[in-house]
């Protein structure tokens, strides 16, 4: 959630996006659609169906006019986590060799496996970015609460969203104060010790702050329950969207069954 701390807008929305279709959708609809989409895509295995699955959120992104570069960069950030696995997969999977690199055989089976995983992961993450990434974090928290996600997790998320910027500021202040006293990171024990102090200090302050926040909440009569103010309501737009979305999923499943028997 590091992006929440930045001074740039945390969500992928653009100012003009207010009137667009997605903005009219209930946050719950978006969360549910992402979940159903993820389950469905994970079950697909034909490259054609998966490619189309990737095209669904991509189309949504274009239709909604989301910032393409920024959205794709975030998707690429996720790829960073799986890239090594994808690259190594052809060399570690048994099967007929497609090509040989430095004496290692890359199998066709492995290549297709890597393609499959890559497409699946990117399709899901892009859908998450398009549907959920455009929500204000608070809205997402409320949607999850209304969908009966465990209260503790929802609170944890809402508080993280609220305080990550405060922690970021505290880090920036401490870091600036270090710089002002001539600290430049080098590969020395002094550097590591100083960063250790910095992280330690942040932790101590975070604990202190969390206690003060709880005290402040108690002073306003907090008794362990958070009341949510907004009433979420499904509208006609939600039904329309759900219908079209289900249609797309049916097409995906159809493609899978059809190309599965053809290949």
């Amino acid at each position: 959630m590091g992006h929440l701390a930045g001074s740039e807008r945390a969500t992928l929305n653009t100012a003009t996006a207010e009137s667009r279709l997605l903005q009219r959708l209930d946050p719950r609809t978006r969360v549910i659609c992402v979940l159903v989409f993820a389950v469905c895509v994970v079950a697909l295995s034909s490259p054609l169906a998966l490619a189309v699955a990737l095209a669904v959120p991509a189309t949504l992104m274009l239709v909604q006019g989301l910032p393409i570069g920024k959205t794709l960069r975030r998707m690429a950030a996720m790829d960073g986590f799986i890239i090594f696995m994808l690259v190594l997969l052809p060399f570690t999977t048994a099967g007929p060799a497609a090509f040989t690199l430095f004496g290692f055989d890359a199998s066709t089976t492995g290549i297709w496996k890597a393609v499959e995983i890559g497409l699946t992961a990117n399709a899901i993450i892009l859908m998450v970015l398009v549907l959920v990434g455009t929500l204000e974090p608070g809205q997402l928290g409320h949607a999850l609460a209304r969908l009966r996600a465990p209260e503790t997790l929802v609170h944890l998320m809402l508080f993280t969203v609220r305080y990550i910027s405060v922690l970021q500021e505290e880090y920036t202040r401490l870091r600036a104060a270090m710089k002002m006293r001539g600290f430049t990171p080098k590969n020395t024990l002094h550097t590591y010790r100083s960063f250790g102090y910095l992280v330690g200090m942040l932790l101590v302050r975070a604990v202190d702050r969390s206690e003060r926040i709880l005290d402040a909440m108690k002073c306003r009569g907090f008794d362990g329950r958070l009341y949510l103010l907004d009433d979420l309501r499904y509208s006609k737009a939600d039904f329309t969207f759900a219908l079209v979305f289900s249609g797309a999923l049916v097409v995906l499943i159809g493609l899978e069954v059809f190309s599965g028997s053809a290949v």
């Binding site: 608070g138 609220r162 005290d215 402040a216 306003r220 009341y227």
Partner: protein
């Protein structure tokens, strides 16, 4: 009229440290605006925290709103009647939006959603902050945070305000605005402030906390 707070001979020390309060007594009558003065670490904030039961005294008695308070359960009512504004507004404003944050107190007091929203909107309009209704709390400026924190306390319709360094991170214009708002409120208050000008214009009585004992200043 009955005293709002009547503290007698309070003693308190943080574990393993010298006592902060050493037989401190204090009374607060309705309509009084009391300024607490004292050096850093003299125990001013600690005293406020004792008033609302965030710390418990090791000796002495706390009578609040006509009843002696001892247990955690006794203090729940005190907290609902005494609005405590913390030193750092970031500690206080924890909801995503301003409206939700101000409605948090009334909801805890048992107000319905509609009532809570109505109260929040009324307070915002009284403080001329209505434009911040749907603002995201962590994107507010320092001055705005301070005023919204005050609104969140006022929404509980407290009988007493406890203000810990309310002028911190306020510029002159915002400080003047806060002073004007506070002077217009009917509530009794206890104010901790190192800002002498602000204190002198607001307070009707001044107490000096030194060596754990309060004296008229």
């Amino acid at each position: 009229m009955a005293l709002l707070f009547d503290l007698k001979d309070l003693r308190f020390a943080y574990s393993g440290r010298a006592p902060v309060l050493n037989g401190t007594s204090l009374t607060l009558a309705p309509g009084e605006r009391l300024a607490l003065i004292g050096a850093n670490g003299a125990g001013k904030s600690t005293l406020l925290r004792l008033l609302v039961g965030l710390h418990h005294p090791q000796g002495g008695t706390i009578t609040a709103f006509g009843r002696e308070r001892r247990e955690e359960a006794d203090f729940h009512e005190v907290r609902c009647k005494a609005g405590y504004m913390f030193q750092d507004p970031d500690d206080q404003l924890f909801c995503p939006t301003v409206l939700e944050d101000i409605a948090f107190g009334p909801l805890n007091l048992g107000a319905s959603k509609a009532e809570a929203v109505a109260i929040a909107e009324e307070i915002l309009s009284n403080l001329h902050l209505s434009h911040l209704r749907d603002a995201i709390t962590y994107k507010l400026s320092g001055g705005e945070k301070r005023l919204v924190a005050l609104a969140s306390v006022l929404a509980m319709k407290p009988e007493v305000l406890l203000l810990d360094e309310p002028t911190n991170d306020l510029d002159e214009a915002n400080e003047a605005r806060l002073l004007e708002i506070l002077l217009g409120l009917p509530q009794a208050m206890i104010v901790i402030s190192h800002n002498a000008g602000f204190r002198d214009q607001l307070a009707t009585r001044r107490l000096h906390l030194k060596d754990g004992i309060l004296k008229e200043a």
